[in-house]
């Protein structure tokens, strides 16, 4: 009984941390491998392994549904992404601290708006990148192993004189 209570408290604590800390919590020192430095950053929930064994998966009953009721159509999501980016960034210039906060808040905002559209049984992953414009070159690529019929993605971009921004949303159907 007490073990379960401790476990529940740890998980709850971990959940709280997850909501407030940043993606780039460095958990290891950078190591030099020849001419490169590799730093590892990962979700705070895995840091320190608060609970070594994962909670066992809850077994859900069969829904007997093969297809999602509402398909994740990228043409419907793309205008939403574009709107959010323009709303938040049209009056901004690049500033390191502000853009760090902005990227987190924009990704949160996009995710919340998509949740409001009620895509049932879809898991949403939303990534936002904001960069400074300094005549540098940048290349962004992404590949996925998923169900090509049911899963999809949508992306949007925005640029002004001092910054550029890219947002990508992936929607994956949970069978």
């Amino acid at each position: 009984m007490s073990l379960a209570a401790t476990y529940a408290k740890n998980v709850a604590g971990a959940n709280l941390d997850r909501n407030t800390s940043s993606l780039f919590d460095l958990s290891r020192k950078p190591q030099a491998t020849g001419s490169s430095y590799v730093t590892l950053s990962c979700e705070p929930s895995h840091y320190g392994s608060l609970h070594t064994t994962r909670k066992s998966r809850t077994n859900l009953e069969n829904s007997y549904r093969m297809e999602p009721t509402k398909k994740f159509v990228s043409d419907k999501i793309q205008p939403l992404i574009q709107t959010v980016l323009e709303e938040k960034l049209s009056h901004e210039t690049y500033n390191a601290e502000k853009c760090a906060e902005l990227s987190k808040s924009i990704s949160q905002e996009i995710k919340l708006r998509i949740k409001a559209l009620h895509y049932d049984r879809f898991k949403i992953v939303c990534t936002v990148s904001i960069g400074e414009k300094k005549n540098q070159d940048i290349m962004m690529g992404s590949r996925c192993v998923w169900d090509t019929d049911k899963d999809n993605y949508a992306s949007g971009s925005y640029a002004n004189a001092s910054l550029f921004s890219i947002a990508v949303v992936y929607g994956l159907y949970y069978e």
Binding site: R18, L23, F24, T33, G34, S35, S36, Y37, V38, T39, L40, S41, C42, E43, S45, H46, T53, R54, S56, R57, N59, A96, C99, A100, L102, S103, K104, S107, Q108, K111, I114, K123, V125, C126, T127, V128, S129, I130, G131, E132, K133, K134, N135, Q136, D137, I138, M139, M140, G141, S142, R143, C144, V145, W146, D147, D151, Y170, L172, Y174, E175
Partner: protein, 113 residues
């Protein structure tokens, strides 16, 4: 439909994934200086190598792998992600790699089926 064995075998193991990513990046672009005409190929190579190794793990996961390669110019870049998923089974891992001429940031999201 058979039940998958829950526990360590079907969890998203961050250390394992981060090693895969590091090896993929080192193999694809380690020791190279930034070259505009090769960046496209490099991004594809990194991502494909990551995905191949991840699928070889044989876990019941869907993977999303993102790679950003940026020339080192003194410019700043911020990346954030927000996910709506099952915290107990899904996870992500991001590895940041750099050398004298470029940055490479690879993110892997693993979502349980």
């Amino acid at each position: 439909m058979d039940d998958f064995q829950s526990g360590e075998e079907t969890a998203f193991v961050v250390d394992e994934v981060s090693n895969i990513i590091k090896e993929a990046v080192e193999g694809a672009i380690g020791g190279n200086a930034y070259q505009h005409n090769k960046v496209n190929q490099w991004t594809s190579n990194v991502v494909e190598q990551c995905l191949n190794q991840l699928t070889k793990l044989g876990k019941p996961f869907k993977y999303i792998v993102t790679c950003v390669i940026m020339q080192k110019n003194g410019a700043g870049l911020h990346t954030a992600s927000s996910c709506f998923w099952d915290n107990t089974t899904d996870g992500s891992c991001t590895v940041r790699w750099e050398n004298k001429t470029m940055y490479c940031i690879v993110s892997v999201f693993g979502l349980a089926i």
